[in-house]
Amino acid sequence: MATGRGAIARLVGRRLLRTGAVLLLVGFGVSFLINLTPGDPAFALLGDQATGEQIAAVHQQLHLDDPFLSRYWSWMIGIAHGDFGTSYLTGEPVLTAIAARLPVTGELVLLALGAALAIAVPVGVLTAHRADGRVDRAWSVASSGLISTPPFVLALGLVYLLALRVGGFPATGWVPAADGLGANLHHAVLPAATLALALVPTYSRMLRADMITTLQEDYILAARSRGLPVRRILFRHALRPSSFSLVTLTGISIGQLISGAVVVEVLFALPGVGQLIVTSVTAKDVPVVQGVVMFLAVVYCAATAVTDVAYGYLDPRVRIRPA
């Protein structure tokens, strides 16, 4: 029943332990991946025309002849030292390849997250305030449609409307922020909008549901009877206690964003991490696939762990009675 700092520290400690165990297991699965290739993995990498020497060289390079557990362990040790493996095709370290592409994916994800929240919070508050009203119903139908639209269909629809019919936005390509922020953002609009629109319905529905519950609390009635303006009640009094689930959801939806980014990057020809994994899957460059999967798992685990801890700060009840 400890309160405050001690409980938070224990919460963080337990969370870290769990995350570590999960990542060890993910690493296990990821390094086992190469054993799942049908036949000799070297053939999958080299094709059927490989000579015996080439195969021996690949075996040497990927430690294919070592027992699985020792391969796993040395691979994990490598990860812990920041060595995510080396591309079989280009010889480039995987971490370097990721680092070169991370700014694109990172910018995309952050822009999408920001845009999604900027749209979903007002919409969620409004639909909760006038629940069952006309706006609420219209949005409910619209968001159902949006939820059923796969990201790549959404993206193609946006490209067709905004890039080809109306014009004004580039359909493909990327300009690094270093070459001009304006051009960079201009190229990022459509991909980021695609990712954001996929998130908005879930966000706004979650906020609406929690907000409706909050608005039935007594203190809202009290605020209302004091004659406070509705806007102030909604955004100052009701928003924060209604936002806990939304915060959790935001953290977890990093996974959805990463998945979406893979598709969107290929579609808009953006040089991001998603593009990297798709090209290496196509080329059967298994070491890169392994490295990127592991890297994304680390990112995702870190994101959820941070949200869980942030939750403790937002909601004092968690601090008193940690789950």
Partner: protein
Amino acid sequence: MTTTTPAPDGGATGAAPDSTGAGRPGGTAETRQSAVTGTGETGERGETGETGARRRPGLPRGLRGLSRWLALGWIALVVAAAVVADLLPLRPYGAIVPGVGTRTAPRWAAEFLGTDAIGRSVASRVVYGARESLLVGVGSAALAMAAGLVTGIVAGYFRRWVDAAISLVLDALLAVPALVLLLAVAAVGRRGTVTIVLGLAVVGMPSFARLARASTLAIVDRPYVDAARVLGTGPWRILRREVLPAVLLRLSPFAFVFMAFAVVAEASLSFLGLGVPPPAPSWGGMINDGRPYLDGDPYLVFIPALCVFLTVASFTVVGDHARRRFDSRASGLR
């Protein structure tokens, strides 16, 4: 989806699902769900949690019934098309339509959904593509559900270290974003339907297992399970005879939602060029093939896209309805 699982954040107030542990199960299952697609209607969590205190938003009752019938009708149409595709008077999906140029726009007379970039019949490819989508959807849902049921029930019934071990493995599977996990499976497998089905089963298993575990936790304390135990029934028989049927019923609505996810995931994978190898048709592959002609011949993209959209929406509507039907909490029994 959390609503099918009574355990996690079951407070009727919907207040503070403790995010640290208990709140995650449903939450992550949903998000895994929505990971690629946005199919998870995470937002409904609290909504249905408020035991009938409020009506659901959206369409009035009659219209919602209509949308349900439309959804069922579309699913029936897709199933029928997939099953009897060989009997329909269609052109072979791989052959070039004689006498009609490439990229002929849809017209009733010549070729009613038009021809694609090589001159093949779009109508035929859409119908055979339905077969691929459905095969992947049903196959992966069945596999994921079977695997998830077994692991989830075992974890929920035996608890202790079995539960801890299984939960850890599920967490590890959920720690990789859905499409990325699918890509990882695609990287090592042979290209084809079998790999996609297996990959999707791996992706979906943890969500089913979490739901099954939560349902099991809610069921094992019921008197009839105690009664069976007191009568000296062995644990495996209890699991099979008492727990499994109840959990299965609670899980079945999620199977529809998962199929919606699977259809999108299959289309995404084909769209990325990693689905069934050509010339076999799939909706995602058709969208990808039509992409260069988006400006001049948008129908090449939007006909298969519409099929994906309608199928996903239908599965979601049906799953949503089934969930409300089967949700014992909403019926006040809990």
